[in-house]
């Protein structure tokens, strides 16, 4: 019985499963407000509250607010609030690890839909060179530094109020998310001060770039996403592990060929057991595309939940099944 369930999961059509999960969660998180659903303010994905109907609040915006309190306050009992926020964030995150990105994040889903559109049109995706990849991949940490440091400087009084949620002012999710409920008011550059003008200017430009970028490049924005960087810091606390058994890997590169994030280690690293990298969105496409039994697997509480198998590979790649196939 257990083997049957295992086989069912390992042979599953990941593409379909993912499509439906993404569709449902997109509706849940973007339109949840209509059904009075709320998941609180420490959510580990881009559920942007600039969209009034969003059913959760992105932790990055809460974090920026909390850290922007005057410095004396942060070091008082109020720090408890920050701590609770962080713990809630980690608790949410721990459930799914980075699969939040690959399955839950409405902003990620949107990019996948743009990708699907491109695919329909028969246009090929573009890729970064290894050099570009390494450089661009650092940008998310710069954003993360802005999220953490700018509010602290505000608290110290070094920076003005105009720096309030500085990252959000640049973030394309702020502009795009409200559009889903028909609110296009974020498409503006705020001329009230030079700082705000620059920040919102970057925001509008970034949003334009987002649409162009995610049309030509799979998961364009995720390379720059500071949430992804923050996730990575806590990935060890998750109940989900992404494991690679290097001795079973032949380095054929199938996983790398399907990776939206162009993570080279997935194919080339045969030493690390924990193969989760900071850019990973845990979409599991690599596991689905691996033809070696058990070379890649997802473990929940250290129990193999979804493993790469030859049989599953053949099924997903549309290879005819031999009728007399033996079951192990």
């Amino acid at each position: 019985m257990l083997n049957k369930i295992k086989k069912f999961i390992n042979n599953g059509d990941l593409r379909k499963v993912r499509f439906w999960i993404q569709l449902v969660t997109f509706i849940l998180f973007v339109y949840g407000g209509y059904f009075a659903i709320s998941f609180g303010s420490s959510f580990p994905i881009f559920t942007c509250p600039f969209n009034d109907e969003s059913s959760a609040i992105c932790y990055l915006i809460s974090l920026q607010h909390q850290l922007a309190m005057p410095t004396q306050v942060i070091f008082s009992m109020a720090s408890l609030g920050i701590l609770i926020g962080l713990i809630t964030f980690i608790a949410w995150f721990a459930v799914l690890n980075k699969a939040w990105c690959g399955y839950m994040c409405p902003f990620g889903t949107l990019q996948d839909w743009i990708t699907a559109l491109r695919k329909r049109m028969g246009i090929r995706f573009s890729t970064y060179t290894q050099n570009e990849f390494e450089n661009l991949s650092k940008i998310k940490y710069i954003f993360l530094a802005i999220i953490l440091l700018v509010p602290l400087f505000m608290g110290l009084g070094v920076l003005d109020r105009e720096w309030t949620h500085a990252f959000c002012q640049m973030c394309p999710a702020r502009i795009i998310s409200p559009m889903f409920v028909g609110d296009f008011s974020q498409w503006t550059i705020d001329f009230s001060s030079i700082t705000v003008m620059i920040l919102t200017g970057i925001g509008v430009a970034f949003t334009g770039l987002f649409f162009v970028g995610s049309f030509v490049k799979k998961r364009f924005f995720c390379f720059f996403c500071p949430m992804s960087g923050l996730h990575y810091i806590f990935s060890k606390f998750s109940i989900i592990r992404f494991t690679k058994e290097g001795d079973k890997c032949t380095r054929c590169g199938d996983c790398y060929a399907v990776c939206d994030m162009q993570i080279k280690d997935i194919a080339d690293d045969v030493i690390s057991k924990n193969i989760l990298r900071d850019d990973c969105i845990l979409c599991l496409k690599c596991v689905a595309a691996c033809p070696e039994d058990d070379a890649l697997h997802i473990d929940i509480f250290n129990i193999k939940t979804f493993s790469s198998t030859k049989e599953g590979f053949n099924k997903r790649m549309g290879i005819q099944k031999f009728k007399g196939s033996i079951d192990e």
Partner: protein, 425 residues
């Protein structure tokens, strides 16, 4: 005049054919008759080799034959462009002798035999165009020699390192270049549909090989290693649909044998992983001695067998370029050929095979003159020692003369494996 027919003087070509037929039939007869409980469905393959190598029957007279000099030329692309891939690596001592006049004394017998074969021009299926990947020195250089015999030989650039990102890019470009050239030659455009179909077909053939391998993991192995070498070797030149059909009926028979617990070897026969220079028909000298000495080959790490079938192509978006890149990656990155600078992958692979197939030992054969395999011997032996896997290293060539010496060494190794097994119990 009528007397002329009866007293025909044998031409060099006839002589070559006769010698080759003798080599072939000697091996085939021995495989058919010297082992207990033969597999019935193997008859297709025995017959195929006899037709091609003893009767010189042409299999592909209606198709364009695309000769390949190594496994790195993707069959997927050749089939998609309406060609038939024919791998020209050669295992005949007769051809080796012809090649010896053209190449250095100490060159690899496989390369000598291949060059000799081209020099004689005596093909049952003569290639219309030849693609030569720049793998090892000897193969690379022999491409140029073959060209002087009047063949259309096109080099396909192949990098000697595979770790760097540059090498990946390089071979991806190289495969695109190959596709363009073949598509020009065939006057046919590579379409998305055709390429996808040929990837699926090869994938199916590979999956059948994987099914076959599953039986070899069992304690009772229903098929001899030498039979499997014949099967995979047939893939070099057979009509793919016939090959697939023969495999399907073979698998059905193996399933029955498995249920009836028919063992191709003895109860105590040591299980061997075979690695090194590729055994190519009819040079099955070493595998033949191994299995005649009461051991059984359960897996191999050679480019004429496992390496050809193991790795499959995965594609994300199924656009032509996406498929080509993935094909290129597979043929470069998964390759464990010793021509590469470092070769930890090969060592990992051998250890993994030994574990997966519960092997008692590894036999590593290198052709005298196959420098890369000879050079890599030391590192592999060291790694096996570390992993606690017994290994025997043998050097051999295509000449029929070494039999006694080789069988003594192999038998001794196999006996020691048996003792080891008994002691473990």
């Amino acid at each position: 005049m009528s007397n002329n027919n009866q007293h025909k003087i044998e031409s060099p070509k006839d002589r070559q054919n006769r010698h080759k037929a003798m080599e072939a039939i000697k091996l085939l007869n021995s495989i058919k008759e010297d082992f207990k409980s033969p597999v019935k469905s193997m008859d297709y393959f025995y017959d195929l080799f006899e037709r091609v190598y003893c009767k010189n029957e042409a299999l592909h007279s209606e198709n364009v034959k695309v000769g390949t000099m190594c496994i790195q030329i993707p069959s997927e692309i050749i089939y998609a462009l309406d060609g038939v891939p024919i791998r020209l690596c050669n295992g005949f001592y007769t051809d080796d002798e012809i090649g010896s006049d053209l190449l250095p004394q100490k060159a690899c017998p496989l390369v000598k035999a291949t060059v000799g074969h081209f020099a004689s021009g005596n093909f049952s299926d003569k290639p219309d165009i030849v693609f030569s990947p720049t793998t090892c020195d000897q193969k690379t250089k022999s491409g140029a020699i073959i060209q002087t015999f009047g063949y259309d030989v096109i080099d396909v650039d192949f990098p000697r390192t595979k770790e760097s990102e540059e090498s990946r890019e390089y071979f991806r470009k190289s495969i695109k270049e190959f596709t363009t050239k073949l598509s020009k030659f065939q006057n046919k455009k590579l379409s998305r549909k055709n390429l996808k179909a040929s990837i699926s077909k090869i994938g199916y053939a590979q999956s059948l090989y994987h099914e076959l391998s599953k039986y070899r993991e069992n304690t009772i192995v229903p098929i001899l290693g030498i039979d499997v070498f014949l099967i995979t070797n047939a893939f070099f030149f057979d009509k793919i649909d016939n090959w697939i059909e023969a495999m399907e009926s073979l698998l059905v028979e193996l399933d029955n044998r498995n249920k009836e617990k028919i063992n191709a070897a003895g109860k105590l026969s040591p299980r061997i992983v075979y690695t090194g220079s590729p055994p190519i028909f009819p040079n099955y000298k070493i595998p033949h001695i191994i299995e005649q000495s009461d051991a059984i080959i359960v897996a191999d790490e050679t480019c004429s067998s496992n390496r050809m079938f193991n790795d499959m192509v995965a594609v994300d978006e199924w656009l032509v370029n996406d498929m080509l890149d993935s094909i290129a990656d597979k043929y470069l990155k998964a390759c464990t050929c010793p021509i590469f600078t470092k070769n930890d992958d090969r060592i990992r692979r051998i250890i993994h095979l030994a574990k997966q197939y519960k092997a008692d030992g590894v036999i590593y054969q290198a052709f005298a003159g196959c420098t890369v395999y000879e050079m890599e011997q030391r590192s592999v032996l060291e790694a096996m020692e570390k992993a606690g896997i017994p290994i025997l290293y043998i050097e051999s060539d295509y000449s029929p003369s070494q039999h006694g010496q080789l069988s003594t060494r192999i038998e001794a190794f196999i006996e020691s494996l048996k003792t080891r097994r008994r002691n473990k119990k």
